[in-house]
């Protein structure tokens, strides 16, 4: 088989420089290559630096135990320098800067704090361990084990489950609302509408992507919530349902664009072949084009999921922000993203709360990273299978 010109024009890649590069050109090429690595470097850095702040919690090395056995100041000689530093929670620079008297004062403060510390057994619990963050716990004063996220209280409670459930609820509503609409519109615009209509219809729908998420959140908060309240008369004006609808509006452009692209790039030869056999436009679209575009449509939905779960402003403004565990869609709810946005400003740099928020961020990054990977792999495999190549 002699490669024809057609093979050669399949893409610029595969065409080499074709001559020995002079110095300037060689330098320029190396420079271009290095700059292009920036995308990889950025992804790597993002994960690195978010995980870096979250690492101590992830490894279980932090402790929020309140009832620490206090060491009286007189026994300062008993501890080594390193132990003293850790007990008093000081950095090496601060430690060096303090005279002996100041250290003793700090220890006295610790003794007082220990005396004031809550005496109940909750105080002895390290709430930053993975089991505390994921499993329910019977707190004193409650009648059964609960998942509680309550970082701002005397005994900080860092259970992540309410946040997971909140994110999932809002995402679920968003996908149930947005995906059918977006897919239906994608099928209509790419297969059933006339070309003249398509010209203005497609940009019009993609205009939805030009609305910033803070505006969608505002819309949910001010307009949708009031509308919802007037219809159902319920008390919780802001809840997962309202936030989910507003979130769905953010998901629609993403799913629509990608699905419409996938449907349009199915070769027209298929559609024309079907029409020539006597199929109606809808029949051709549903039976021939849609199955051929499944990889792209699937990817569209997965990316829509990623967008929904990672969206911050909409849920921050419209979901009510009460971190409770409930599968009721009409309860006020709090998502992972809203938690980070709302609480990070008030944390102590390097403290438990700070690190746990970064941990949530790292988890979010992981979720979207995996869903992106899934979309890529599925597209690759399904496309190969459709074209008859080995997966």
């Amino acid at each position: 088989m002699t490669p024809t010109h057609a093979n050669r024009t399949l893409g610029w890649t595969g065409i080499k420089r074709g001559h020995k590069a002079r110095t300037l050109e060689w330098l320029a090429e190396k420079f271009i290559f290095v700059v292009s690595l920036s995308a990889i470097v950025m992804v790597f850095l993002i994960f690195l630096f978010v995980a870096r702040e979250a690492l101590p919690v992830a490894l279980g090395r932090m402790s929020s135990v309140k009832a620490v056995k206090a060491i009286p100041p007189e026994e300062i000689g008993r501890l080594s320098q390193a132990e003293l530093m850790e007990y008093l929670d000081l950095t090496p620079a601060q430690f060096k800067a303090m005279p002996q008297e100041a250290l003793k004062d700090l220890m006295a403060v610790k003794v007082e704090a220990a005396a004031e510390a809550p005496k109940d057994k909750d105080a002895a619990l390290n709430t930053t361990t993975w089991s505390a963050m994921l499993k329910p716990y019977q707190w004193s004063g409650y009648d059964k084990p609960e998942y509680i996220w309550q970082p701002v209280s005397q005994i900080q409670k860092y259970n992540l489950v309410p946040l997971f459930i909140g994110s999932l609820k809002a995402t679920l509503v968003a996908l149930l609302f947005g995906v059918p609409l977006a897919l239906g519109a994608a099928i209509y615009v790419s297969q059933l509408a006339s070309p003249k209509t398509k010209e203005w219809l497609k940009p019009a729908i993609e205009l939805l992507a030009g609305i910033p998420s803070v505006v969608l959140g505002f819309f949910g908060l001010i307009v949708l919530a009031s509308f919802f309240q007037s219809i159902t008369g319920s008390d919780s004006r802001l809840n997962a349902f309202v936030a989910g609808i507003a979130l769905g509006l953010a998901v629609i452009p993403v799913v629509f664009s990608i699905a419409e692209d996938a449907l349009t790039s199915v070769p027209r030869a298929y559609t024309q072949g079907a029409l020539a056999l006597g199929a109606s436009k809808w029949n051709a679209a549903w039976k021939i084009v849609l199955p051929a575009a499944i990889p792209g449509v699937f990817a569209a939905v997965v990316l829509g999921f990623g967008r929904a779960i990672g969206e911050t402003m909409v849920v921050l403004m419209a979901s009510g922000n009460a971190s409770i565990v409930s599968w009721n869609l009409f309860d006020s709810t709090r998502t992972m993203t809203a938690t980070i946005a709302a609480e990070l400003a008030e944390t102590v740099f390097g403290g438990h709360h700070y690190r746990i928020l970064f941990l949530i961020g790292a988890l979010l990054f992981l979720v979207t990273f995996l869903s992106n990977l899934l979309a890529d792999v599925v597209i690759h495999r399904l496309k190969n299978r459709l074209e008859g190549k080995p997966a």
Partner: protein, 276 residues
């Protein structure tokens, strides 16, 4: 819009005159010696040995896929752009091996010009299209550029048609005019050899006739190698013809002899239309 009506095209007879016996013009400028080309493991050209005479028109004919285009792309090393290509044998231009290590390919391409099958003028004005290569060579003075642009356009038989719209986009011209812009662009830097890869195959008969007339005029100054799948075209304009089949050079002789009295039966079959 053309000023040559169909009836006015003069069809040359199929039997051309033998080439002039001018020894000063009949020297070999480009020689190949057992040239083979491999795409990976597939051998596309099989030990081609021929020489191209100076200031003659040499035509490569043969059925599609037989390696004609691949061969002329060897002459200006455009095949280097493709991954996985391997060359064996030698190509010499004026006794200089063009695959030698110290050969500057950029300079080679300046001296061996190429016109492609599908005309590809740059999306710039006609003037800029031609001035592009000149600027690459360092010609900066506007007067010089103007002069060379005019000279090239005259040489491409296009000056009269476009002299009022030099600064309009080249893409606004008809297909035949665009191809002539590409020819003007190629001759602007005064190469020694011009390679043409089916230059008229995408053009209508009127434009084709114009391009063929142009090629005959260019013969005075340039050595031309033209690949064509149109035998009558080869018979009309070329002095020497090489017949290729499946990557091999079957016969190479004056056009007169190839078309009237070929030595090999395969050539005769192809030329009389029994296959291909």
């Amino acid at each position: 819009m053309s000023d040559t009506s169909f009836a006015q095209i003069k069809f040359k007879t199929v039997v051309p005159a033998p080439p002039p016996d001018d020894s000063t013009r009949n020297t070999a400028l480009l020689e190949t010696e057992k040239l083979s080309l491999f795409y990976g493991h597939v051998r596309a050209l099989k030990e081609i040995s021929l020489n191209i005479r100076e200031r003659m028109i040499t035509a490569f004919i043969g059925p599609s896929g037989c390696g004609k285009s691949t061969l002329i792309r060897c002459f200006n090393r455009m095949n280097d752009l493709i991954d996985g290509v391997r060359i064996e044998g030698k190509v010499r231009i004026g006794s200089q091996d063009i695959h030698a290590r110290d050969v500057d390919v950029i300079e080679l391409r300046r001296r061996v010009g190429m016109v492609f099958q599908k005309s590809n003028p740059f999306p710039k004005s006609i003037y800029e299209n031609i001035a592009y290569a000149l600027r690459l060579q360092g010609v900066k003075a506007k007067s010089e550029l103007d002069e060379i642009v005019e000279r090239s356009l005259r040489g491409a038989a296009l000056w009269a048609e476009v002299k009022d719209r030099l600064h309009e986009s080249a893409l606004a011209l008809s297909g035949g005019q665009q191809q002539r812009v590409c020819i003007a662009r190629a001759i602007a830097i005064e190469p020694e050899i011009i390679l043409m890869d089916e230059p008229a195959s995408a053009l209508d008969p009127v434009a084709t006739a114009k391009v063929e007339d142009l090629i005959l005029e260019l013969k005075e100054e340039f050595t031309i190698v033209i690949v064509t799948h149109n035998m009558q075209q080869a018979a009309r304009i070329s002095d020497y013809t090489a017949f290729f089949y499946l990557g091999e050079l079957v016969e190479y002789d004056t056009t007169n002899r190839i078309f009237t009295n070929p030595a090999k039966k395969q050539t005769e079959d192809y030329v009389t239309g029994r296959f291909g």
